[in-house]
């Protein structure tokens, strides 16, 4: 058995300790997963900011109340979950560095903000060229934009930080995280903030993957328009108290949310059917497949039941076994990316 030394001088009997990291760069959250002994540690930061008046007094208050902020060109931005609270307090909208799954083209502060958030969440590599897999959206079926710029920016930045970055499709990451027992065969659907990402995988190989540019934010905006509220407030209600299994006694906002949830689910299932029809070489899938639902927009109670109801009405061209929630819907993308990174690292 030979001793070896890694870049930081860590000695191991079997060779350098290689672990890797998995990063979920989402419209709502940036989340990093890494293994520490027998645990997976997830670090996360909400991807939202809100401008407040920049004075020493405000800065001190924020520091004392442990509210995270960023200062850029003499402007003070509250970041993270507190940005949402501030926005609600002032009845305004939060600003977001990512929109529809990619770096926002309309926010000029976006890039340095995203970089700072990634740097804080991902941290320094444990050794030079540590492998990191970062989640990327699939090409959108219904929007005229390309995800290449976003992928290249994230990849380039992680490289600047000293990592060996690899992109992984968001839906595929869910499959790696949740479907090992089923030979990584099935469908992963991530209902994120800005997009819904879908991947059908056969024996761990993606058969098709795509995204649609409607998801949680779209629901918030539509409901906000319908009931004359701010999208931030609608989002807060959606995240805190929406129950999709309730059929009676819904408030005006809850009714509108239920309607738009139906619409979104139906839209996604129709897009999946369309993709099945387009795919020329479908593998022979003999067993009913599992569908794993994940992402922040899938969190309301009753979501998977509602999904199943609509799926039973619309029907896919392949038999579907279970349509269930991921074990940890907010962590599965980062965890799946970590599975890929760990597998890569141990092959080195």
């Amino acid at each position: 058995m030979s001793k070896s030394k890694d870049e930081k001088g860590v000695v191991s009997l079997k060779g350098p300790i290689r672990k890797g990291k998995g990063v979920d760069i989402g419209t709502m959250f940036i989340k990093c997963a890494q293994k520490e002994d027998n645990e997976i540690v997830f670090k996360s930061q909400r991807n939202a900011f809100f401008e407040v008046e920049h004075t020493d007094f405000t800065k001190n208050i924020l520091n004392n109340s442990k509210v995270r902020y960023i200062i850029k060109e003499n402007k003070l931005y509250v970041v993270g979950h507190e940005a949402l609270e501030f926005a609600n307090m002032f009845n305004k909208e939060t600003r977001r560095p990512l929109s529809r799954g990619v770096i926002s083209p309309t926010e000029k502060e976006a890039l340095p903000m995203v970089e700072l958030l990634i740097k804080n969440v991902v941290g320094e590599p444990a050794y030079k060229n540590e492998t990191v897999y970062f989640s990327v959206p699939g090409e959108p079926l219904d929007a005229d934009f390309n995800v290449l710029y976003h992928i290249k920016m994230a990849e380039g930045f992680l490289k600047t930080m000293g990592y060996t970055p690899n992109p992984i499709n968001e839906g595929h990451a869910i499959i790696l995280s949740e479907l090992a027992e089923e030979d990584f065969t099935g469908m992963g659907i991530s209902f994120g903030g800005g997009m819904v990402n879908v991947c059908l995988s056969f024996m761990s190989v993606p058969v098709f993957k795509f995204s649609v540019a409607k998801s949680g934010d779209w629901i918030d905006q539509q409901v906000a328009m319908a009931v004359d509220e701010t999208a931030t407030r609608v989002s807060a209600i959606k995240e805190s108290s929406l129950d999709l299994s309730k059929e009676e006694g819904l408030s005006k906002i809850e009714s509108a949310l239920a309607i738009y949830y139906n619409h979104l689910i139906e839209y996604v299932i129709e897009a999946v059917k369309q993709e099945f029809a387009k795919t020329r070489r479908l593998p022979r899938i003999t067993k009913p497949i599992s569908i794993i639902l994940s992402g922040g927009t899938s969190l309301p109670k009753g979501f998977s039941h509602r999904f199943r109801q609509i799926l039973d009405q619309l029907k896919l061209p392949v038999p579907v076994g279970s349509a269930r929630m991921a074990s940890q819907p907010l962590r599965s993308v980062a965890k799946g990316a970590l599975v890929a990174a760990s597998a890569d690292e141990s092959r080195k």
Binding site: K35, N38, E39, I40, V41, F42, K43, Q45, L62, N63, V67, R68, Y69, I70, I71, K72, V79, L111, P112, M113, E115, L116, L117, K119, N120, L148, I151, K152, M153, G156, K159, T160, M161, L176, S177, A180, D183, F184, M203, S204, V205, E247, S255, A258, I259, N262, H263, E270, K273, Q274, Q313, L314, S327, Q328, K335, V339, S342, A343, S346, R347
Partner: protein, 175 residues
């Protein structure tokens, strides 16, 4: 693109000629609110007409019913609707072509199986390196001081996944 339920709504209106929200709901399912939402949206997009509390097919709705790519089209309805559309189109054509010389229709080029289109032939490389500067260096923040939200879970399940995934990768490589 019409969704399956939207196509169901159009089918049901075509079947009933004019229909109330309740009648459509009984045929299609879903809640009254959702059906109302779909109908309003279909009216806005020109598929349905709405008057005196009842929905009927608008021109775009009739044409969609005839289009092959529309999901779940009730083919039995086609016969009756086809006549309606034919009359409408012939009337429109007569008005439009009066005195106009119509050029020969462009021949639709059908793709031969096995032959790649220009679009398919183009293979754009995306594996290039794209250096990105750390623009966040100019920012001041207290995030590091306060720390990042951290959660933990046991990794036993993940270790198994990594093992299976590596195994599968090895088998694929062998093939």
């Amino acid at each position: 693109m019409l969704s399956g339920t939207e196509a169901d709504v159009i089918n049901s209106v075509a079947r009933l000629r004019t229909a109330s929200k309740n009648q459509i709901r009984r045929q299609v399912g879903f809640s009254l609110e959702y059906i109302g939402f779909l109908c309003r949206d279909l009216v806005r997009r020109g598929f349905l007409d709405f008057s005196q509390g009842r929905y009927s097919l608008a021109r775009k709705g009739i044409k969609t019913l005839l289009a092959e790519e529309t999901p779940k089209v009730d083919r039995k309805l086609l016969k009756s609707v086809a006549g309606e559309v034919a009359r409408e189109i012939s009337g429109e054509l007569k008005r439009a072509v009066k005195g106009i010389k119509i050029p020969a229709a462009a021949v639709e080029i059908k793709k031969e199986p096995g032959i790649k289109t220009l679009e398919e032939q183009k293979k754009i490389r995306t594996d290039f390196d794209f250096p990105v500067e750390d623009e966040s260096l100019v920012l001041e923040s207290n995030i590091n001081k306060i720390g990042i939200q951290t959660e933990k879970e046991k990794s036993a399940g993940m270790d198994k996944s990594v093992k299976f995934y590596k195994e599968m990768y090895r088998r694929r490589k062998k093939k």
